[in-house]
């Protein structure tokens, strides 16, 4: 084989920019969304670029990737990009090609959308496809939810952008913790320690210090060279399992889905906010997770009905108050909603500002 190459880093993006983009780099003056899924950017020079945003399940086979390339070759001179939410964008410099492109996308079952006041792609993670800690699958839940909310993907019907994200365990890969609606896989059993395996696989001090709540202690029987878990203090984060494979915490019945809502990232109007617990547990029901889908739809509908113009989910809830959120969405309030972690106090209501 040829000389071994390392540390070259990624290719320079400049190689992949279409001529219009290269020429007008840094000189764009404005944009329009001419229809859902199609952005038009205009440069100082008057040059235009049309970006057609297309839904992607993010998992792509090389077959599908080649199909996308085929489309891009045909309409975009071979230039395309992916977005920070895993849609792809076909970068069209010739306006005339827009209509045929739309037709071809429709034919191929590649839906355009995800712009403006829509529900764009769900940022998500590995799930049962590749990870060792998930409580739920990722891609299947995403497919189920997006199928249900599909009407909102290719339209601008909502009071504002709604960003949904999914993480299959508490590690929360992705920006799930700051999403309008976050779907989160949760375990609900403490790890079961396999003492035999632990002795061989894991370092005891590292395992103990992995636990945020201090629930793990050295096993009283020193000869075991293992650990015990104080189950009362365990909140099933799985951090010990990450450090030590001899401590699995899976339970098909108890694992499930939590929903968090009201997060955002942008600074537009209101500052970035965390998503907060809306539903602590929904059963894990593959292949289509109907209870999850239904609850998200309910929240979305209530939001769409209740929010002011331009109001993000977070802003709507903060305006009406969380107590009203639970009321209008018909979600029971439970002990789990009340924070009892490190900064809990700052979530307590130290005022008379509440509604009945």
């Amino acid at each position: 084989m040829a000389e071994r190459i390392t540390d070259i880093g990624p290719p320079h993006y400049g190689k992949f920019l279409s001529p219009v983009i290269k020429e007008n780099y840094g000189k764009w003056v404005s944009h329009e969304i001419i229809e859902p899924g199609i952005l038009k950017h205009v440069a100082e020079s008057g040059a235009e670029i049309y970006s057609v945003r297309v839904a992607s399940p993010r998992i792509l086979t090389t077959l599908q990737a080649r199909d996308i390339c085929e489309v891009a070759d045909k309409y975009c001179g071979g230039y395309l990009r992916f977005t920070s939410r895993h849609n792809f964008e076909l970068l069209v410099s010739d306006k005339a090609k827009l209509e045929p492109l739309k037709a071809e996308l429709a034919k191929r079952g590649m839906p355009k959308g995800g712009t403006g006041h829509s529900i764009t792609n769900i940022v998500h993670t590995q799930g049962w496809i590749h990870c060792h800690t998930p409580a739920i699958d990722a891609s299947g839940v995403v497919k189920s939810v997006m199928d249900d909310l599909f009407e909102y993907f290719g339209s601008h019907r909502l009071p504002a952008q709604v960003r949904i994200s999914l993480a299959c365990c508490l590690n929360m890969c992705g920006a799930v913790h700051c999403s309008d609606i976050a779907i989160l896989g949760v375990h609900r059993t403490p790890p079961k320690v396999n003492h035999d395996r632990l002795r061989h696989l894991c370092e005891i001090p590292t395992t103990i210090s992995a636990c945020p709540t201090g629930a793990i202690r050295p096993h009283p029987d020193k000869s075991l060279k293992s650990v015990t878990v104080n189950e009362e203090r365990c909140m099933y984060c799985g951090n010990c399992y990450t450090m030590c494979p001899a401590m699995p915490l899976f339970d098909p019945k108890k694992g499930g889905v939590a929903l968090l809502v009201g997060g955002k990232v942008s600074n537009a109007k209101s500052p970035p906010m965390f998503s907060r617990l809306a539903v602590p547990w929904i059963p894990n029901n593959p292949p289509r997770w109907p209870e999850v889908v239904q609850t998200i739809r309910k929240i979305l509908i209530k939001y769409a009905e209740g929010a002011n113009k331009y109001e993000r989910v977070a802003e709507w809830i903060e305006r009406i108050g969380w107590e009203k959120f639970f009321e209008v969405c018909d979600i029971p309030f439970t002990y789990q909603h009340i924070d009892d972690y490190k900064w809990a106090y700052d979530t307590y209501r130290t005022s008379m500002h509440f509604k009945f």
Binding site: P10, G26, V29, D73, C131, G140, M172, P212, P252, P287
Partner: protein, 414 residues
């Protein structure tokens, strides 16, 4: 082919189906067939069938490969090894079809043919290969100009918004900054020697389209500090309904400049008398709202730079954090030496003081902002906090008393 009655239910519906796609490939690749089979098992049993894998990698590197083994290797032999390779994506996720095809060719040869476009950190993820294939696949890619991305206790593949390539609001060159920093930290990207992961993200403006504030240990967000540029006639066009609100992104036919812009400005620093839009720029907090609503009428000012915020990460261990302001304004230009130098100082301090699996934000919280700021040579600024402390438990150092002796005062003297 494995029977997958549960998964089959995910083939229908309007949203693109990953099952349909995988099935196409399963016809050619036995490991993909096995993947569907094992996934079906997970759907039935509601449990993952993957085991840890922590040792595999390519020669010389300690990052970028996630080892994975099936716990049902006898039933699904194609999954006995099923590691992913994280390939460092190009800034802004721009590609040519040629580049994608080259990657596909290599991946068809050495791996499962399954991709993630992209991973949540931004990498082009190649999903599923065996230990033996890692090194040759890596070198085949390297010869086409690609390198592996980050994982483990290392610098992670930085990412950025589309920025100046296609957005009128980019306050700095996010793509070049991302590229430059990625190149600069190549050593640390591949050789994990930090206390934990370290992520850099670059957003061109406070809309923060890569969610830098939420998931980068060091977040760079573009900002301006002079006046918003106003095209008054365009404002009128919005108010008159000739221009559509938010460039057409909404269900609303017409923008009400007073109600939808001025009244929603979080600082209340705007006014509109039906003719002239006025902004008290000293009190604007760069939220972007007015600009977002009227992209043809308003533009950020021209004194531009980045704000550096630090500390965000997902909830392990202390609960999720968002990044907070450390440097309110820094002028930057290629090759972004000032960003690189500051990053080096920060990482050095963190590497020295951080515990295993302690993110930099957690370390700053543990040792205190003063310790951090002094170590990296930054002054205390009120922009770092939304509010000063409420508790009276603050520290003094001998250097403070020395400064007082030399005349320093904390109260107003005017």
């Amino acid at each position: 082919m494995h029977k997958t009655p549960l998964l089959d239910q995910l083939e229908s519906g309007p949203y693109p189906s990953f099952v349909k796609d995988l099935k196409r490939l399963a016809a050619k690749k036995p490991q993909v067939n096995d993947l569907l089979g094992q996934l079906e098992r997970s759907y039935k049993e509601k449990i993952t069938h993957w085991k840890h894998g922590g040792i595999v990698g390519v020669l010389g590197y300690g990052s970028g490969i996630i080892g994975r083994y099936s716990d049902l290797p006898d039933e699904f032999p194609g999954l006995e090894h099923f590691h992913t390779m994280r390939i460092n994506h190009p800034s802004g996720w721009f590609y040519t079809t040629q580049a994608i095809r080259e990657v596909c060719d290599i991946w068809d040869q050495y791996g499962s043919g399954i991709l993630n476009m992209h991973g949540a950190t931004g990498d082009l993820v190649l999903l599923g290969t065996t230990t033996d294939n890692l090194e040759p696949c890596f070198q085949a890619l390297a010869h086409k100009g690609w390198d592996i991305g980050g994982s483990g206790s290392a610098m992670r593949s930085p990412s950025c918004c589309v920025g100046p390539a296609r957005c009128e609001w980019a306050m700095f060159d996010t793509l070049e900054a991302c590229y430059e920093c990625t190149q600069h930290f190549q050593f640390d990207l591949h050789r994990p020697s930090f206390p934990y992961k370290y992520k850099l993200k670059f957003s061109g403006c406070p809309n923060d389209c890569v969610a830098a504030v939420a998931r980068a240990d060091q977040s760079h967000i573009g900002v301006w500090r002079d006046d918003i540029k106003i095209d008054q006639s365009a404002v009128k066009a919005y108010d008159g309904g000739e221009l559509k609100p938010r460039g057409g992104a909404t269900p609303y036919a017409k923008l009400d400049v007073k109600a939808d812009v001025v009244d929603l400005c979080p600082t209340g620093c705007m006014s509109w008398d039906g003719k002239t839009l006025k902004i008290d720029n000293k009190n604007c907090n760069h939220c972007m709202h007015c600009i977002n609503m009227m992209p043809q009428a308003l533009k950020p000012g021209s004194e531009r730079g980045v704000t550096i915020l630090m500390g965000s990460h997902a909830p392990i261990l202390e609960g999720a954090q968002m990044s907070w302001v450390i440097v309110p304004f820094m002028e930057v230009e290629p090759p972004f030496d000032n960003i690189k130098e500051l990053t080096e100082r920060i990482i050095e301090w963190w590497a020295e003081n951080g515990k295993n699996r302690e993110r930099v934000g957690e370390l700053i919280l543990r040792l205190g902002m003063r310790t951090f700021l002094e170590a990296v040579g930054l002054p205390p600024v009120p922009q770092s906090v939304i509010r000063p402390r409420a508790n009276p438990f603050f520290y003094w150092k001998q250097e403070d008393f020395d400064a007082e002796a030399a005349g320093k005062k904390y109260y107003t003297t005017k």
